[in-house]
Symmetry: C2
Subunit: 445 residues, 2 copies
């Protein structure tokens, strides 16, 4: 194969492993791994060559390059043969010009990258396609991998189950018994995953899934797995591509486990190193105030990082007190002149609802990112003339309960300033007309 990538320990201890080895962290020092690429080989082509190639493939029909992840295959995971790629046509999501919302917030050049408009409804597809393809590749090479497993209640288990179902590989989801609601789990259930409801807590599940995987050659799709970062980093490339290879000034991303912050930075750095872009954007990591360990670290100039116990937040996918990828994220934020800001429940719910009124349908995590944008505009840390991209991580259709409760003003710690409810009217022309006229007057005043 002309291009090559491998796992390498991020600590500098120089440990390396092949991508088709079942390994999740450094065997020597226990630190995180990252995927490294043979940059010398990639550099043999000019930046113009890569731009042209990526543009030619974008959304076209030649397998598997129409996927915006696999359209950058050489930069992502060259080690997988095309016939082993498990792709559901990732990426290519709308970069929504938030003209109306921007006007309300006083910023002209605001864009929402709608990563949730995806096969399983979240950005997790971007990483999962790489992980499951690598598993299929290993099976094709003769490795005996009977299943892929994870401990997750949310988007990760949904993406894992769907990609495994498409590939015909068993997915196993480990969950604490009392946290299993069928509604939350309907995606893995429908996609045929073996869903284990175990009489223990989340830590107990994590312990069991690790033990089961290590003793039975079952592949662990946890957030430590750095293959997923390789897929997720294509969001940076796609944003720049959608701006005709222009780099925005600021990118805001919600942060929980911090893999996405790390991925975003990795994508921009690789483009800069290979000459496709000349500048880097500022990266802003947006945390829920109820789960803000990185924000607390940022206040101390990242001199220390202390895990916390996350409290319950509406932004439940980022309700994480001890994030796996904090080291990678801090490195990125230092390099990108980064900012970390937090949003309260009230702020994230209202920001999400305000955006919905302009045609979006935001998940609460996107609400966190939008609330942080509003705060940074007020603090003059983002200027009104800057080009800003907000990463929207999941489809709002996964969060209808959150939205219903918001509009019924039933969310704790939230004053629903943009609530909208059906208006009861009697079935007479005049009554209806009066109601409509009143609404039109409100709008014009």
């Amino acid at each position: 194969m002309p291009y090559r990538a491998w796992f390498q320990c991020i600590s500098g201890c120089d440990e390396k492993y092949e991508l088709n080895e079942i390994v999740y962290q450094c065997k020597k020092c226990g630190d995180l791994l990252e995927v490294k690429h043979d940059m010398d080989k990639l550099r043999r082509h000019s930046s113009e060559h890569w731009k042209k190639l990526f543009d030619e493939r974008y959304r076209r029909t030649r397998w598997p390059y129409g996927s915006s992840v696999w359209g950058k295959k050489e930069w992502v995971c060259p080690n997988v043969a095309n016939e082993n790629v498990v792709s559901l046509y990732e990426g290519g999501s709308n970069l929504f010009w938030a003209e109306r919302l921007g006007k309300e917030l006083g910023i002209a050049d605001l864009w929402i990258k709608q990563c949730g408009n995806a096969h399983t409804g979240s950005f997790k597809d971007l990483g999962m396609t790489v992980l499951v393809s690598m598993v299929k590749q290993m099976i094709a090479e003769g490795k005996n991998i009977p299943a892929v497993a994870c401990a997750s209640t949310g988007d990760t288990s949904a993406a894992l189950a769907s990609y495994c179902a498409a590939a015909g590989i068993l997915a196993i989801v480990f969950l604490p018994k009392n946290k299993v609601s069928h509604a939350q789990l309907i995606q893995p259930i429908a996609n045929g995953a073996l869903t284990l409801s175990i009489d223990t807590d989340f830590d107990g599940c994590m312990k069991l899934v690790r033990e089961i995987c290590s003793k039975n050659n079952i592949y662990l799709a946890n957030s430590m797995n750095s293959l997923r970062i390789e897929g997720q980093k294509t969001v940076s490339m796609e944003i720049v591509q959608q701006f005709d290879w222009e780099v925005p000034d600021v990118v805001i991303v919600p942060g929980g486990n911090l893999g996405n912050t790390a991925a975003l930075g990795k994508g921009f750095l690789m483009m800069k190193e290979l000459g496709l872009i000349r500048k880097l954007p500022r990266i802003v990591c947006a945390q829920a105030a109820k789960a803000n360990p990185l924000y607390l670290s940022y206040l101390k100039d990242f001199k220390e990082f202390t895990p916390i116990k996350a409290q319950k937040t509406l932004a439940n996918a980022i309700q994480i007190g001890d994030p796996v990828s904090y080291k990678k994220a801090i490195n990125v934020l230092k390099t990108f002149n980064g900012i970390v800001e937090q949003a309260t429940e009230d702020e994230l719910a209202n920001a999400s609802a305000q955006a919905d009124k302009t045609g979006l349908f935001c998940c609460p995590h996107t609400g966190v990112a939008l609330a942080v944008l509003i705060k940074l505009l007020k603090k003059n840390m983002i200027r009104p003339d800057e080009k800003v991209v907000v990463i929207s991580t999941a489809h709002g259709l996964k969060f209808t309960e959150f939205k219903i409760c918001y509009h019924e003003n039933k969310l704790e710690e939230v004053n629903s300033r943009f609530a909208n409810l059906p208006v009861e009217v009697s079935p007479q022309y005049d009554a209806v007309k009066t109601t409509i006229c009143r609404k039109l007057e409100q709008m014009s005043s």
Copy 2:
């Protein structure tokens, strides 16, 4: 403007209206209108020109042509100026190769066109972008149109509300009081639509919305509006484009109000007339057995058509006994050597679940289309070597309740043959391992 389109009565009475006139049916005979294009002008370019142009624009960044609807603007609605287009990047949805499902069903070349992977989660976006853009155009031309209204509980109101929100135009949704559940309505509510809960039935709402619209210059976004068909017909073009301009043998589409069947046919016919394709596919309209007036008409060779009272079906978006577009759909089916087939509740729910197990996440309407495919394969009316496309109309995330009840085996008239539920396991390594081994044995047997 170089290209031109207008409304024309389908009855042959030769009535014509401009697209910027507020008119929904023929003023002379009351029949449906359709959008007609100046085909002579379109024919001045070769088929190669059009293919190249559509391919060049597909998913690119030049406004508004990256949308797969507006990428075919000259064929869809040339009358709207680009600055008045209200687009959320429609189309470009995955044409999923259902390799595993096809193998199970005994057909090698099966494809699912995932129209539900869209901004508001259904194919309605394709038509609504045209309708709302035309309204914005009329407002820009100086017409006083204070709002756009519809009577709908489902995908239509969601799409209308979102596009109007993006454009800054008031959307009004008319609904019978007892049918208003906030969950069903959360999309229009979140997108700021004025949602009227009226103490009457659905017919009463239709009567009121018509009266309000006609007396107040409010635009009516009902299913009679043929602008929406122009957007929806781009699905045919996109499918062919995604097959590198090859025509599939069969296309299966769920049918309720039958606008989508009409649109599908219109797209293929226009491509044939302008030389982009040489053959037509067979079109199969798939109806729920609980709402099957077209199926009953088909059994009588379309010699008569009698509206029925539709019964409650899981496929609630096609629960329609008196479809608006039946004449257009029958014309299409006659031209395309068409078939109409029906699916019971048991068939549609099981077909949907079977597909989910191979990585999809189907809405019940897609289930109807898949169940019909299974029946027609059994009847040898579709051959195993034919290239078949199934149109998936909405995202499964809109139907989680349907899926939960299916897997709990709680749906009426349905025996859930593919049910999957969490398995309770005690928190010991051996217990978990035994459960996994049992599952793996099941799979290999």
